[in-house]
């Protein structure tokens, strides 16, 4: 039995349905991080005078908002994916991880469009692009792996405890403030670093800025933390998901 085609069909379906009956269509994929960037630029750069490691603040913010929006959208949608598809889960068998994964694929699709906008911004601000930009490929893979780990764990938990869905928006808000989206990683005191970096989004976002804005390969420590935590979390999340999967149809 092949479920690769199901994954493709369902993912395409997610992307198609998402912006159906909207006026601006897929433009929303780019508009969401752009609008956030504008607000951040006004509030945090102009008013709060937050440093941006020498890069223009809008670009500094956007380079972080791109992976961040991808993370928050994917995790929010994927977490609810099992309970919103009760009808399917109780009537048809297929590997259940396909449901959260399709939302992750859809978010990565938006991410790709947002990346095109980022290329435009980089050109506009005349920031030199170096070969280090090729690091984007493993970085996106790392981002996807971390999103997958979180989504698998939370969607499986959500089947049993709907509290997860209720707590999720506030959880994502908190994560935004404990990730270096608004401010640079440098402002985090050295004594707090080790704990701070246990959130892989910190290392991922910092590395995004390294390879795109500073034209250098990722800073070793934050990157290693992100890889390490993801590598530990993903197998655990997958095993937990598969354990819940067996009787998911009974409780969902």
């Amino acid at each position: 039995m092949s479920y690769g085609d199901l994954l493709r069909t369902l993912s395409r379906h997610r992307i198609n349905v998402r912006y159906r009956q909207t006026l601006l269509g897929v433009a929303w994929a780019v508009l969401q991080p752009l609008l956030l960037m504008l607000i951040f630029a006004v509030v945090f750069s102009r008013l709060a005078r937050i440093p941006s490691e020498g890069a223009p603040y809008p670009l500094f913010a956007y380079a972080a908002l791109l992976p961040w929006t991808c993370f928050s959208t994917a995790v929010t949608n994927a977490t609810g994916s099992l309970v919103t598809h009760t009808q399917l889960i109780t009537k048809v068998y297929f590997p259940r991880e396909i449901l959260p994964i399709t939302y992750i694929v859809a978010a990565l699709f938006d991410f790709t469009l947002g990346l095109a906008a980022l290329a435009g911004l980089i050109t506009w601000y005349d920031v030199p692009i170096t070969l280090a930009a090729l690091w984007l490929i493993p970085l996106v893979a790392l981002l996807a792996a971390w999103i997958l780990a979180v989504s698998l764990a939370l969607s499986a938990l959500q089947v049993r405890w709907r509290d997860v869905g209720v707590a999720l928006p506030i959880g994502v808000q908190i994560l935004l403030f404990v990730s270096p989206v608004i401010y640079p990683l440098d402002v985090v005191p050295a004594s707090w670093r080790a704990v701070y970096l246990l959130n892989p989004m910190a290392g991922i976002i910092h590395s995004f800025r390294d390879v795109l804005l500073r034209g250098q390969i990722p800073d070793a420590v934050p990157f290693a933390f992100a890889v390490g935590v993801t590598a530990a979390a993903l197998p655990l999340a997958y095993v937990y998901f598969k354990r819940i999967e067996a009787t998911m149809a009974d409780v969902v």
């Binding site: 085609d5 109780t90 048809v92 068998y93 009787t247 998911m248």
Partner: protein
């Protein structure tokens, strides 16, 4: 060669009462419900097994276990080959998507490859008879079209093992015919099938073997007519204990029902009758010894095995019936056949008035075909007259109560 092995399988559902943390503190907040208990059966390659039983007997749970929708609590399930389950027609259809998009979506949910769907697309649409509407969102489909398209996708899967849950109950007669033809085609092609249906006649026609479920347990398994008969007896008597061993009843039977025949006014044997015309049913029996104080009963069943009507010899004679040894027949006459046009299955029992259990139970392949006669609206027709009653209006009660 076995396609399905279902070995000593049980499935327990936890029924939780109360909300949140409170239920953890309260004793009895969690109850166990065994939907399937210690069930074992096997299905050979190419064999068609029917599963029958009352609602909640565990049939659908068995299908969910086989299709891996949920896992068993204990026991072992082995399946060899590609499995497709048709638990609900049109599962996975998205109302906003067109028929075409939904064929792909539903097909891939059922485990078909995109290329496979492409190759079968025209046949699927033709089977469903919705070609004009295929590029229209399915939310605009009639329920009939929706169901037809859903079944059409599933019917074109070519699985090694096909699980079907009560999908034949949908659609009009012509479409049901088409479905049964398609299932027969798959069966001839060597597909192993497991069927759940309340339509006992379809079960008998389609299945090689039938298993009877009762309260989560498998209580009988064997040739379709035998097990369906056991089930009908269970429905008629309202308890399963007496039929757990159907052969026992026949083994020490002092008397047997041999056949049931139908006769028109001129006593000629018929197999067809019309609503509203006279008809008699003869229960032919053979008794090894005289049976005193006997009761002969005739049951009329609907296609889904419900007892629609029952006639008893005590009501007929108003007194005791003593059957002499030897062969004979008891005739039930109906001056007016009250059944709607349709196909009915007919059974009969002989029992002693004082005993709860039947001496013999007969469920053969006796069918009664009722043709349209007197037009009937509603479930049945009953003999009636009418007249005008002059001045029989409501009385004037004056000032009221």
């Amino acid at each position: 060669m076995l396609a399905v092995v279902f070995h000593d399988v049980s499935k327990c559902y936890r029924i939780r009462q109360g909300v949140g943390l409170l239920r953890r503190l309260r004793p009895g907040g969690v109850k166990d419900f065994w939907a399937v208990k210690d069930v074992t059966f096997e299905v050979g390659r190419g064999e068609t097994l029917g599963l029958i039983g009352h609602n909640g007997a565990g049939k659908s749970t068995i299908l969910k276990l086989l299709s891996r929708i949920t896992a068993p609590t204990t026991g072992e399930i082995r399946l060899s080959g590609r499995v497709a389950a048709l638990i609900e027609v049109g599962s996975g259809f998205h109302p906003e998507l067109t028929g075409r998009e939904n064929v792909y979506l539903s097909g891939s949910l059922l485990g078909m490859r995109r290329r496979e769907i492409q190759a079968k697309f025209d046949r699927i649409v033709e089977f469903a008879g919705v070609s004009e509407f295929i590029d229209m969102p399915v939310k605009w489909y009639s329920s009939g079209m929706y169901v037809r398209l859903g079944f059409a996708v599933a019917a074109h899967l070519e699985p090694d093992i096909l699980l079907v849950d009560e999908v034949l109950a949908v659609g009009d007669a012509a479409f049901q015919r088409q479905c049964i033809d398609r299932l027969n085609e798959l069966r001839r092609a060597g597909t192993t099938m497991l069927f759940i249906s309340h339509d006992l006649m379809s079960i008998e026609r389609l299945c090689d073997r039938v298993a009877l479920m009762n309260h989560g347990q498998l209580i009988a398994s064997g040739p379709p007519s035998e097990v369906v008969g056991t089930y009908q007896q269970m429905v008629a008597t309202g308890h399963a204990a007496a039929v757990a061993d159907a052969s026992r009843v026949a083994a020490d039977a002092r008397a047997r029902v041999e056949s049931i025949t139908f006769h028109d006014q001129s006593a000629a044997m018929v197999i067809n009758a019309s609503t509203g015309t006279p008809l008699s049913a003869r229960v032919h029996y053979r008794a090894d010894a005289p049976v005193s104080d006997a009761v002969v009963e005739v049951f009329y069943y609907s296609r889904d095995g419900r007892v629609l009507h029952c006639q008893q010899s005590t009501a007929l004679t108003g007194g005791a019936l003593d059957l002499p040894a030897g062969s004979g027949a008891v005739e039930f006459t109906m001056p007016w056949l009250g059944l709607q046009p349709g196909i009915y299955s007919v059974g009969a029992t002989i029992r002693q008035r004082t005993a709860a259990e039947a001496i013999d139970w007969f469920y053969g392949r006796t069918m009664l075909y009722v043709e349209p006669g007197k037009p009937v609206r509603g479930h049945f027709s009953t003999p009636h007259d009418w007249r005008i009653v002059a001045g029989d209006g409501p009385e004037d009660h004056g000032a009221g109560v």
